[in-house]
């Protein structure tokens, strides 16, 4: 079993965690994000939102960008800038095209026994702002949550 973790605290109040692309690591990612969000002063409900949004983003990377290739890495960074939390997840897999995304119709999905496609919608609901960036050799989802 591949089991690597690198957690680095850098200056400028940025926290970084690198995990391999396995759903086995999701609990650890959630714990990391919740701890740091608490440290930045977010309340319990906001921490729940952030934790779920990051879980969904990380799950999408594992499933869609890397297609469950556990030898790949996901990098998670958290930073507080001007009363706003910025969380980014970086991967080097297949890029997600946000233009191809449409709001899920749960009733329709129930009928067709489909699942999935729900994570992106949840992320948008839970966070204040979301952007997808495609660079030469990596992809990034950047999410923001305002600190009230």
């Amino acid at each position: 079993m591949i089991n690597r973790t690198r957690q680095i605290v850098t200056i400028n109040n940025t926290y970084k965690l690198v995990v391999n692309a396995s759903t086995r690591r999701l609990a650890e990612v959630r714990q990391f994000v919740a701890d740091k969000a608490m440290h930045f002063g977010f309340d319990e409900n906001q921490i729940s939102d952030i934790r779920l949004a990051v879980d969904e983003a990380c799950t999408n990377i594992i499933k869609h960008a890397y297609k469950y290739d556990e030898s790949q890495n996901v990098e998670i960074r958290l930073k507080l800038e001007k009363n706003k939390l910025c969380v980014s997840l970086t991967d080097t897999g297949n890029a997600f095209d946000p233009n191809k995304y449409s709001k899920p119709d749960i009733r329709e999905q129930m009928k067709s026994k489909k699942r999935g496609g729900v994570g992106v919608y949840l992320i948008r609901k839970l966070m204040d702002d979301v952007e997808y960036l495609k660079m030469d050799d990596h992809n990034m989802i950047r999410m923001y949550k305002n600190l009230n």
Binding site: D35, N45, D55, I62, K113, G116
Partner: protein, 122 residues
């Protein structure tokens, strides 16, 4: 800080007509397959009146919701239902964000779901 890995567990109870899955811990893309296996097993045994008691469920991600989405039509098609009960507020909020309360029977207490099944059988 110490990293606490919360697992996901299912305790299965049943009476004559009703199957109850008590789920606890954290339901995510890693643990969802456990719930899926349990539901599949019940459906394969023609046990279609299913209550999922979430009183000790601390966390749910969309992969967990996906399991309910994938099996509800089968179960209802066979004359049964999957009813959800005893969710904490945070777990309920996730179901609510996706509009589940209008599509699924969600009750505060397990007894209400039991009654509902009993009434529909009469």
């Amino acid at each position: 800080m110490l990293t606490v890995m919360k697992n996901f567990h299912i305790n299965h109870r049943h009476s004559d007509e009703i199957e109850v899955l008590e789920i606890s811990g954290e339901l995510d893309a890693h643990t969802a397959s456990k719930l899926e296996d349990s539901l599949k097993t019940l459906i394969d045994k023609n046990r279609h009146n299913i209550i999922v008691n979430c009183s000790d469920l601390e966390y749910i991600a969309s992969a967990g919701l996906g399991v309910f989405m994938a099996y509800i039509e089968d179960v209802r098609g066979l004359g049964g239902d999957i009813k959800l009960t005893n969710m904490n507020e945070r777990v309920y909020n996730v179901f609510d964000l996706l509009g589940f309360p209008t599509l699924y029977d969600i009750f505060d207490e397990e007894e209400e779901a039991v009654k509902q099944f009993q009434n529909s059988d009469q």
